[in-house]
C-alpha cells in the first residue's frame, strides 16, 4: 500500500487553564492520501481547528504522531519546520486577520516566493500576477490593501498565497464560513479547481456539513475531541450511522420547506427531550453520551473504539448494531 501523504496517529492536545486541563483533541487518527480531500466536520469545541493547528505546527501535541510523506514532523520546530512550509500551507477563515493590513496584496504574495523560491525582480512580479490570474482576480488587485477588497476577493488572495509555493497539503480552516452564499460558491469552486488541477490534498475543516459534503472525498465527524464516525462524504452526509452524526445531519436545515419538515421530525427521534446539563462528567466514556438519546451505562464508563463496519466506514459507538444499523436495537442496551 502507498504511504499516505499525511498520517495522524493517536493525536492528543491538552490545554492548561489555571488548574484545569482541557483535552481538546483526544486520540484522533486519520490519513490523507495524495490528492485526497478529508473533511473534518464538527461543532465548536469538537477539536477540529486544533487538529488543523497541530498539523501546521502551530499547536504542540501532548501525545501522538504526525507523519508527513513518511517523515515524522510532530515536534519539528525552527528552520526544519519552516522548510515544510513549501509542502503544507493553510487558508484560514478570515483573510482580514491573516493578511497584514498594511501590506499590499503584491507584497503579501511576494513574501513566500522570495523566501522559499528566491524569486526577485520582474520574475517575482510576473509570478504574483500569474497567481492572481489563477485565482480569478484582476491584476490591479496587486496594489490593494486587504480592507479595500471584498471578503470573497480576500479569500481568493489567501488561496493564491497558499498555493504560491506549490504545496502538497493545504489545511483549509472554515475557508468559506465568513462569506455570503455567492462568494462561498465561488470560493468552493476555486478550491475544487485548484485541488483537481494541482493535485492538492486538503484537510478541510468546517462546521457546515453541506460544504464538507461537496468538497471532500471522505469525512470524519468529530465530537468532544474524538472521531465519532468516518466514511465517504456521500455516505456520511446522506446515511449517517453514529447517533451524533445523525443529530448533526438532522439539525442542518434544508432549503426546502417540505424536506425540512421531514428532517425536523427525524431530528426529534435522535434528540434527548430535556436539554439538561450536557457537559461531560468524566474523561472516560463516550463524549457524546450526555446528549445521546440512546446512551447506556457502558457509554458513560468506557470509551467506544472506532470499529470498521464496512470497507472505509468506521463508527465509534457501543450500541451500534451492524445488522439493523441502529443503535437502539442491541438487547438491554437502553437504560
Amino acid at each position: 500500500m502507498n504511504v499516505p501523504l499525511l498520517e495522524v496517529r493517536d493525536l492528543a492536545v491538552e490545554f492548561h487553564q489555571r488548574r484545569v486541563t482541557v483535552r481538546a483533541v483526544d486520540g484522533v487518527s486519520f490519513t490523507i492520501g495524495a490528492g485526497e480531500v478529508l473533511g473534518l466536520v464538527g461543532e465548536s469545541g469538537s477539536g477540529k481547528s486544533t487538529i488543523g493547528r497541530a498539523v501546521l505546527g502551530l499547536t504542540e501535541p501532548t501525545a501522538g504522531a504526525i507523519v508527513f510523506d513518511g517523515n515524522e514532523i510532530t515536534t519539528l520546530r525552527g528552520s526544519k519546520r519552516r522548510t515544510l512550509a513549501t509542502d503544507i500551507q493553510v487558508v484560514f477563515q478570515d483573510a482580514l486577520s491573516s493578511l497584514d493590513p498594511r501590506w499590499t496584496m503584491e507584497r503579501s504574495l511576494s513574501e513566500p516566493l522570495r523566501m522559499h523560491r528566491q524569486l526577485a525582480g520582474a520574475e517575482l512580479q510576473q509570478e504574483v500576477l500569474r497567481l492572481l490570474g489563477l485565482v480569478g482576480l484582476p491584476p490591479e488587485v496587486a496594489n490593494r490593501l486587504p480592507r479595500q477588497l471584498s471578503g470573497g476577493q480576500r479569500q481568493r488572495v489567501a488561496v493564491a498565497r497558499a498555493i504560491a509555493l506549490e504545496p502538497r497539503l493545504v489545511v483549509c480552516d472554515e475557508p468559506t464560513s465568513a462569506l455570503d452564499l455567492s462568494s462561498q460558491s465561488q470560493t468552493l469552486n476555486l478550491l475544487r479547481r485548484m485541488h483537481k488541477e494541482l493535485r492538492l490534498s486538503y484537510l478541510f475543516i468546517s462546521h457546515d456539513l453541506d460544504v464538507v459534503r461537496y468538497i471532500s472525498d471522505r469525512i470524519a465527524v468529530l465530537y468532544g475531541g474524538q472521531i465519532m464516525e468516518t466514511g465517504s462524504a456521500i455516505d456520511i452526509a446522506d446515511n449517517p450511522q453514529h447517533p451524533y452524526s445523525k443529530m448533526l445531519v438532522n439539525s442542518s436545515p434544508v432549503p426546502d420547506p417540505l424536506a425540512q419538515a421531514d428532517r425536523r421530525a427525524a431530528r426529534k427521534l435522535t434528540v434527548k427531550d430535556a436539554a439538561g446539563d450536557v457537559r461531560r462528567q468524566s474523561n472516560t466514556g463516550c463524549p457524546f453520551a450526555p446528549r445521546c438519546a440512546f446512551s447506556a451505562d457502558v457509554c458513560r464508563g468506557t470509551r467506544p473504539a472506532l470499529l470498521e463496519i464496512s470497507p472505509g466506514r468506521t463508527v465509534a459507538c457501543h450500541l451500534f448494531d451492524p445488522d439493523s444499523k441502529h443503535p437502539q436495537s442491541r438487547e438491554g442496551a437502553r437504560t
Partner: protein, 349 residues
C-alpha cells in the same frame, strides 16, 4: 396596546395604506432611507421597500450582506444608525404610522409591542447585571409593580425559553452563559413586554447547528403559543425554510421578490433568488462546479439605474437597464421586481 388618541394618527396619504394597513400588523410602504454625505447628495441605502407582516405570521427578510435586511429591520423599530433618515415612505404598526413617533412615544412601542433580538445576544444583555436583574427590571418597566412578583415571573420566563434550571441561571451574568443559553435569555428578555411582533435579526447565525435547531424549535413553539408575529432576518435559506411561511427577498436596497415559502423554494420569481438558491451546496452534484453569481452586491451609491441585479443577471436584456423596475402588485401572494417574472406571474393570473 397603544391608544390611537395619544399617538399621531394615520398619515394623510393613507390612501396607499389600504387593506394592508387594516389587515397587516406591520406594513412597510415605500420605505426609503438615506444618509447624509459630505457632497450634500444623500446616499440612499433603502429604496422603496414595501412588505407586510400579518398578525401571528412568520415572515423572512432574506438576502446577502449589504442588501439592506438589517437596515430595514432597524428602520422598522426606529433605530437607524446615526444620521440615517427615512426620506420617504411609512411604517405602520398596528394601524399607527410609527415613522411619525417621537422618541418618548417610541419608547412605549419598542421593547413592548415590538421586540428585537439581535444576532449577538450580548447586545441585549448588560454585562454588569445578573440575568435576574435584567429580567426583573424589564418586567417592572412593562408594568409589573411588585418586585417579588417580577422575580417569580422572571423564573417562569426562563422556564418558558427552555432553560432547565432557571434558578441557577438567574444568578449568572452574561459572560457566564454559553452562546445558546445567552440567546435564550435574550429571547426571554424580548418576551417581557408580551410583544405582538418579534424582530429577530439572524438570531441563530452565530450558533452551532444543533443549538440552532433547538432555538428554532423554541421560537416556533413561542410563536404558536403567544400568537406573536416574527420578522426573521436571515441569509440562510435552510433556516428560512424551517421557520417562515413567507419570504421577502432583498437585493441592493430593494425588495426583489415576495412569495409564500413553498413557492419561493419551488419556483423563485426573481433571477436573484433563483441564482442564490442554486448556489447553496446542499445536495449539489460533486461532479460539477457550483452555480455562482459573478461579481458582488453593488454598494449604495453604485446601484444601476435600471434593475439593480441586471449587471449580474444571466437573463438581463436591454429593457432591464432602461429605467427603474417596479415591484409588481402581489399576484396570488407573489410579487417580483423582474420584467420577465412579471410576465410569467401575469400569465398565471
Amino acid at each position: 396596546m397603544i391608544s390611537p388618541v395619544t399617538m399621531p394618527g394615520r398619515a394623510p396619504d393613507a390612501a396607499v395604506a389600504d387593506d394592508r394597513v387594516r389587515t397587516g400588523l406591520l406594513v412597510v410602504e415605500g420605505l426609503t432611507v438615506a444618509f447624509p454625505t459630505p457632497t450634500g447628495q444623500p446616499l440612499v441605502v433603502l429604496d422603496n421597500v414595501s412588505f407586510a407582516v400579518g398578525p401571528g405570521e412568520a415572515v423572512a427578510l432574506v438576502g446577502e450582506s449589504g442588501c439592506g435586511k438589517t437596515m430595514t429591520s432597524r428602520a422598522v423599530v426606529g433605530m437607524l444608525p446615526e444620521g440615517g433618515v427615512i426620506s420617504a415612505g411609512h411604517v405602520h404598526f398596528d394601524g399607527i404610522d410609527v415613522t411619525a413617533l417621537s422618541e418618548s412615544q417610541w419608547s412605549r412601542v419598542r421593547g413592548c409591542e415590538i421586540a428585537y433580538v439581535a444576532q449577538d445576544p450580548l447586545v441585549a444583555l448588560d454585562p454588569c447585571f445578573s440575568v435576574r436583574s435584567l429580567l426583573v427590571e424589564a418586567l417592572r418597566r412593562h408594568g409589573m409593580k411588585s418586585r417579588s412578583a417580577a422575580r417569580v415571573a422572571a423564573a417562569e420566563l426562563l422556564a418558558r425559553v427552555g432553560i432547565p434550571e432557571p434558578e441557577s441561571v438567574l444568578g449568572r451574568f452574561a459572560h457566564q452563559l454559553s452562546g445558546g443559553m445567552a440567546q435564550r435569555v435574550a429571547i426571554a428578555l424580548a418576551l417581557t413586554g408580551s410583544p405582538k411582533l418579534l424582530i429577530a435579526d439572524e438570531p441563530t447565525s452565530a450558533l452551532d447547528v444543533t443549538v440552532q435547531a433547538e432555538l428554532l424549535d423554541l421560537l416556533r413553539s413561542l410563536q404558536r403559543d403567544t400568537r406573536m408575529a416574527v420578522l426573521f432576518v436571515s441569509h440562510d435559506f435552510g433556516v428560512v425554510a424551517d421557520f417562515c411561511s413567507r419570504a421577502v427577498v432583498m437585493y441592493a436596497g430593494q425588495v426583489v421578490e415576495e412569495s409564500p415559502a413553498l413557492e419561493l423554494f419551488r419556483a423563485p420569481a426573481h433571477p436573484y433568488t433563483e441564482r442564490l438558491l442554486s448556489a447553496t451546496p446542499h445536495n449539489a452534484s460533486r461532479d460539477s462546479e457550483l452555480p455562482t453569481i459573478e461579481g458582488m452586491v453593488p454598494p449604495p451609491g453604485l446601484w444601476p439605474t435600471g434593475c439593480h441585479f441586471a449587471p449580474r443577471c444571466p437573463r438581463a436584456e436591454a429593457a432591464c437597464t432602461l429605467g427603474p423596475i417596479p415591484l409588481a402588485a402581489p399576484t396570488n401572494g407573489r410579487s417580483s421586481r423582474c420584467i420577465f417574472a412579471l410576465q410569467e406571474l401575469e400569465a398565471q393570473r
